[in-house]
Symmetry: C2
Subunit: 259 residues, 2 copies
C-alpha cells in the first residue's frame, strides 16, 4: 500500500488529487493568463506610468496569493505590496495604486466593499474571480478580469489565482518576466515522489504525528505564506485547530510559552 492509497480511504472529497494536480494546473493558467493585457483606463482612471503601491484585496485562500506576491517581491520589487484582509482599504490607497481584488466566488463581502472603496479613491482595479458580483463590477468599470474556473471549493483554486496575480504583476511592470513554468516543473517532480511514496515514508509519518494533536506552525520569509497556508488548510480541510506564527518574530515572545 502506498501513501496515496491510504489518503484516498480517508479523503472523501478527493482533496489530495486537487492539491497534487496544482503544478500542472498552475502552468496551464499561467500560459493562458499571459495573453491578457491591462486596459489603458479603468473607471475613467488612466493606467499610471509608475505605480506608487500595490494593494491585494482578499480573504483566506484568496488573500494568500497576495502574500506570495509580496514575498516574491521582497528581493525583487520596487513597489510596496500590501495585503488587505479587511472591508476597508488603508487611506494611502488611491491614484497610483494597483488594486488587485481576488475573490474566487466574486461575492466575498469584505473584498467587494474594499474594491469599491479603492475605485472611489482613484485606484486602478484588476479582478481575479470566477464571476459573481466582482466579475460584474469589473465588467462595468472596464477592468481586466482574470477569469477563474468555476464550480469547486474556493481553497482549491490556488493554482489559477496564483498564476493570475503573478501575471498581473508582470503585465503592470511591477516585476520583470517570471520563469514560473520552471518552478512548476520542480513542483511536479516532487508531487510524483509523494504520490509513489511508501507508507513508512515522511508524508505518512508526519500525518500520523499530527493525529489528535494541535499543530503549531512556524515559518519565515520568503516562505511565511506557506506556513499560513498550511495552517488554514488544516483548519478548512480537516476542520481542526492549528496556529501559525512567523519567525524570527516568534523568537522574541512566543518562545517564552515553552519555558
Amino acid at each position: 500500500m502506498k501513501f496515496e492509497d491510504l489518503v484516498r480511504e480517508h479523503d472523501k472529497s478527493r482533496m489530495l488529487d486537487l492539491i497534487l494536480s496544482s503544478p500542472l494546473e498552475f502552468v496551464e493558467y499561467f500560459e493562458k493568463y499571459g495573453e491578457i493585457e491591462l486596459p489603458p483606463s479603468v473607471a475613467g482612471v488612466k493606467i499610471p506610468s509608475e505605480w506608487r503601491n500595490v494593494a491585494v484585496l482578499g480573504m483566506g485562500g484568496s488573500a494568500i496569493v497576495g502574500d506570495v506576491l509580496r514575498s516574491y517581491l521582497l528581493d525583487r520589487g520596487g513597489t510596496p505590496v500590501e495585503v488587505v484582509r479587511d472591508l476597508r482599504v488603508p487611506a494611502h490607497v488611491g491614484r497610483g495604486t494597483l488594486l488587485i481584488a481576488v475573490s474566487y466566488s466574486g461575492n466575498t463581502m469584505e473584498t467587494l466593499r474594499a474594491a469599491i472603496e479603492g475605485l472611489r479613491r482613484g485606484a486602478y482595479l484588476v479582478a481575479v474571480t470566477s464571476g459573481g458580483l466582482l466579475g460584474q463590477l469589473a465588467a462595468g468599470v472596464g477592468a481586466a478580469t482574470y477569469k477563474l474556473p468555476p464550480g469547486r471549493p474556493s481553497r482549491t483554486a490556488l493554482p489559477p489565482m496564483l498564476a493570475a496575480v503573478l501575471r498581473i504583476a508582470e503585465a503592470a511592470g511591477i516585476t520583470g518576466p517570471i520563469d514560473a513554468p520552471q518552478a512548476a516543473e520542480r513542483a511536479r517532480k516532487l508531487v510524483e515522489r509523494i504520490r509513489g511514496s511508501p507508507l513508512d515514508s515522511a508524508p505518512a509519518r508526519v500525518a500520523a504525528e499530527l493525529n489528535n494533536r494541535v499543530p503549531l506552525i512556524y515559518s519565515y520569509q520568503p516562505y511565511s505564506p506557506l506556513g499560513l497556508r498550511l495552517k488554514t488548510q488544516i483548519n478548512e480541510n480537516a476542520k481542526y485547530h492549528a496556529f501559525y506564527m512567523e519567525l524570527p518574530e516568534a523568537d522574541h515572545n512566543e518562545v517564552m510559552g515553552w519555558e
Copy 2:
C-alpha cells in the same frame, strides 16, 4: 481586598505597576520628544520633501509600536506603512523611505542588520533606542535619536517607544498634529478604575478564567495590535502559551477549527 492587592501577591517583578503607569509615562515622553527635529540629511541623504513609504524596523515589543502607527494611519495617512520584523528590508525600501529603527537595547540583531541595509539603499534613518549599537550607528550617520529610558525589561518601554514613533510621524509630516495627551488622560482614568476595582470585578474574573487555559486572542483593525500585544504579554510575562489571529480573516479559516 482589591484586585490590585491580589496581583501584587503574585506579581513579584511588579509588572502591574509598570503597566498601570503607562499613560502618565506616555504623556511625559510625548512632550519631551515633541522638541526633537529631524536633521536635513542623514548619511548624506537629504530629507525628502515627500515620503514614498515608511518602514518601521523592530522585533517583539519594539515592532508593536510600528503596528500601532500603521493602524493609526489606516484612516489618516497618505503613506504606506510597513512593519519589518526581519533582518532584511523589502527591495522597495530606499530613497524616499522613512526608516524608523526601534530597538530598546539598541542591540537587536535583526533590527541592526535591517537598518544598515536600509541606509545602504538610501533610506532616511531615525532611531528609537536607549543606546547600544543602534545608538552608535545613529550618532555616526547623523540620524535623529529618540532616546529611551535605560535599565528595565524592554517590553515595559512601550509608552516612550510609542510616544517616539508618533512624534516621528508628526515631525516628518506623515500625519498632522496628534492629540495624544487627551487619549492618555482617558487611559489614566481607566487605570484608576482598574486599580480600585474589587475582587469580583471584571479584571479578576478574566484572570481566573484564563488560569490553566490557553488563550486564543482575536482582534480586528484598528485594534489588531492590541490583540497581538496581549498575546505576547502573556507569552513574555506569564511564560505561557497564547495564540493570536486577526478578524475578519479568522472567519474564513480558523473558525473551521471550532466545527
